[in-house]
């Protein structure tokens, strides 16, 4: 079960230049985060503050949500509540259908990925065009995002050139990022101008003012919100913060942690619809209240989806996002998967970590991600009867020092056999990439006994004489 990610990494991101490029591109984001964080003298204090603010916001989530609904409604928006993914998809479809909207431009939203909104709408005859460049790249390639803020990070410029040559108007062999981006811009302009509706996510929602906050680097969400008459914003209920003061803290952390920018290029605060247009806000639960009720794991809801934990994660960088088999990869994905992911395979994702703790150390909200992974392992990771038996036998052995010592002697005797490759060798997983260490000789306890005896003898010899 747990080996699923390992096997998928081998298949989807085989060792070679592509793997090295992925690791380097993702780690570069981590390094940019370090530079940006160092340039902000308050960075570590902001993280403390963000943790407190999120804890407070989640403790009072019910009140914050009601306040947000009241203020947003007063500002002219219509607030909808979706209990789960099917409810979100239905609500959005009904809104579009009632207005005969057939062409939709959509900006980045991991929530709609989580809920499968695009395929739901497309199967009902609605054209959905992702307008974030990275999102559009993976959409044209019929792939999901492989990273929560850099969806096409697994693609090289050569990949994108070939894709655009096939799907857009660019000459074959074009790999210049500026010209490729220009081609995407021209292509997307047409979709923006012809769109009947815009769907966006939201990075935050502010209860005191009924405002949603949309952060992008490309302005694509803003163009979407400004052109068609209908704007539907989809967000998880955990995105609501009490006031604009809290928002300021998170905004100072979000882009620095994500890409090393002091602030994103566009940070748009939307309070109510523009004149003559409609704004619908869908607040989605989809497992979040269950997580909120779970004291051991509720802090994971504080995630602001910056991606810093992915960027620093040695496993994510070597596995690629697709190996995780669910929409949010990396440490935060593995932490959320047991609560939001559903399947047994996803519930096993907390095992996919060396527990190095770097994720917890970069999280702008100071979520104890690696501790959460450990906690999930004890309660929710499906363990087969064989794994349980092995654990029980191993513990029984370790509880009996004499038996443990004997087992060590047997293993030493078997050492040459263990070092060779043969089917069924229990050392096989190690031997795939490693050699067994050289034979360690006698155990520490055996040598310690001998050492103590030798000391006793030397003491006896010197008794009566001068002790050195």
């Amino acid at each position: 079960m747990s080996a699923g990610l390992d096997a998928r990494a081998l298949e989807l991101l085989p060792a070679g230049p592509r793997l090295r490029a992925h690791d380097a591109a993702v780690f570069a984001l981590r390094e940019k985060r370090d530079v940006a964080g160092r340039a902000e003298p308050d960075f570590e204090r902001l993280r403390d503050h963000a943790r407190e603010a999120k804890a407070h916001a989640l403790d009072h989530l019910d009140a914050n949500l009601e306040r947000f609904e009241a203020r947003a409604t007063a500002a002219g928006a219509v607030v909808h509540w979706a209990e789960d993914a099917p409810a979100l998809n239905r609500i959005v479809h009904e809104l579009l259908d009632a207005r005969a909207a057939r062409r939709v431009v959509k900006s980045k939203s991991m929530l709609t990925e989580e809920c499968g909104l695009n395929p739901y709408l497309e199967s009902r005859g609605i054209e959905v065009v992702d307008t974030d460049l990275g999102e559009r790249i993976v959409q044209l390639g019929h792939e999901p995002p492989s990273h929560i803020i850099v969806p096409a990070i697994h693609r090289t410029r050569e990949d994108i050139g070939a894709l655009f040559a096939r799907e857009l108007i660019v000459p074959a062999g074009e790999t210049d990022p500026a010209r490729l981006t220009e081609a995407a811009r021209r292509h997307l302009r047409g979709h923006f101008l012809g769109a009947d509706a815009a769907i966006t996510g939201a990075n935050f929602a502010v209860a005191e003012s009924g405002t949603i906050v949309v952060v992008t680097n490309e302005g694509n969400a803003d163009l979407g919100m400004s052109l068609p008459k209908l704007h539907i914003a989809c967000l998880g209920i955990e995105k609501v913060v009490p006031g604009l003061g809290d928002l300021a803290v998170f905004l100072r952390l979000l882009a620095r942690s994500a890409t090393g920018q002091p602030i994103s290029v566009y940070t748009s605060l939307v309070t109510g619809p523009r004149p003559g247009a409609e704004l619908h806000i869908v607040l989605v639960d989809n497992g979040r209240t269950r997580l909120l009720a779970d004291d051991a794991h509720r802090r994971a809801l504080g995630c602001i989806r910056c991606g810093a934990c992915l960027n620093t994660c040695p496993v994510y960088r070597r596995a690629g996002g697709y190996a995780y088999g669910w929409v949010i990869p990396g440490p935060i994905g593995a932490v959320l998967a047991p609560a939001l992911g559903g399947t047994d395979e996803r519930r096993a994702l907390p095992l996919a970590s060396s527990l190095c703790g770097s994720c917890s150390a970069v999280c702008p909200v100071r979520i104890d991600l690696h501790e959460q992974l450990i906690a999930w392992r004890a309660t929710d990771v499906p363990r087969g009867s064989r794994e349980r038996l092995v654990a029980r036998l191993a513990a029984a052995l370790l509880e009996r020092p004499a038996l443990y010592g004997a087992a060590g002697r047997v293993a030493r005797w078997l050492w040459p056999a263990l070092a060779r490759r043969w089917p069924g060798n229990p050392a096989s997983p190690w031997l795939a990439s490693r050699a067994l260490p050289v034979h360690p000789g006698a155990s520490f306890r055996t040598r310690w006994r001998a050492r103590t005896r030798a000391e006793g003898r030397s003491r006896a010899r010197t008794r009566g004489g001068e002790v050195r």
């Binding site: 080996a3 527990l355 150390a361 509880e399 190690w430 795939a432 990439s433 050699a435 310690w448």
Partner: protein
């Protein structure tokens, strides 16, 4: 070093199961260093495993049983010193979930990683070791981020600029030339059960680490966790490049003859 005349500090060695079985010389070197610094060192052979593999694989019941046994063995010990940062981190950071509050707190307060005990409890900066080689430091994750033996690169506060405990001890070793390593505190990919459950990913991370260590020009790689070092040594044996692994205890015990 403790004052002459005062009673010598009593140290109960906590030799993790894998050190006992796979890296016995690390336990012996630990005893040697501590005795040279005037400690009275004992080893209780009833100890086996602190329970770390059970904690990290989610076997809570078994982890509780082993934690209790560990607490019994060390019930009367003044200072419990261990040459393995991840096992110390298990006692300090995980036992709260496995034992009574008092029992966990008592063990946490008495358990030390070897270098930490030498530097902080004994107050010794220079143990008199001689090791005339180029050495790279592997900042094992649990020692670094859970015990604070170094300065994690993720930490961007002003306190992050100092020198960590392990590094300071190494800098005092005569003849030792410390070599900088790129991505200095990236995980080595071992992760205990992770290396067995995810052998390919573990090896990918490990090979990158080995490459970075080799590029540092070091002859040896050292650290506070023999487990990470065994993993790197096993990769080196297969790959045929990279510095040899040697535990911190062995360097601190060295008088130049290595």
């Amino acid at each position: 070093m403790p004052e002459r005349g005062s009673s010598p500090p009593e140290v109960a060695l906590f030799v993790p199961c894998y050190v006992d079985q796979l890296a016995p010389e690390v336990g012996l070197a630990s005893a040697t260093v501590l005795e040279r610094l005037g400690c009275k060192v004992s080893f209780d052979p009833r100890q086996t495993c602190c329970g770390q593999p059970f904690v990290t694989s989610g076997a809570h019941t078994e982890a509780v049983r082993l934690a209790r046994a560990h607490a019994d063995v060390f019930a009367g010990a003044q200072a419990i010193v261990c040459p393995s940062a991840s096992c110390v981190a298990t006692v300090r950071r995980r036992y709260a979930d496995l034992l009574s509050t008092e029992s966990a707190a008592s063990l946490a307060a008495r358990t030390f990683e070897l270098g930490e005990f030498i530097a902080l409890s004994l107050g010794t900066r220079d143990v008199g070791a001689v090791f005339p080689h180029r050495v790279a430091l592997l900042e094992s994750c649990h020692g670094l981020r859970e015990l604070g033996l170094g300065r994690p690169s993720e930490d961007l506060g002003a306190a992050a600029d100092g020198v960590g405990i392990t590094e300071r001890l190494l800098r005092s070793v005569r003849g030792l030339e410390l070599r900088p390593v790129s991505r200095r505190d990236e995980c080595c990919g071992f992760g205990g059960a992770f290396s067995v459950g995810f052998p390919e990913l573990s090896a990918r991370i490990g090979r990158d680490k080995l490459r970075a260590l080799a590029e540092s020009g070091a002859d040896y790689v050292t650290g506070t966790d023999a487990s990470c070092l065994l993993h790197l040594e096993a990769l080196r044996a297969r790959e045929g490049f990279g510095p040899r692994a040697i535990h911190l205890a062995e360097i601190l015990a060295s008088r130049g003859g290595a």
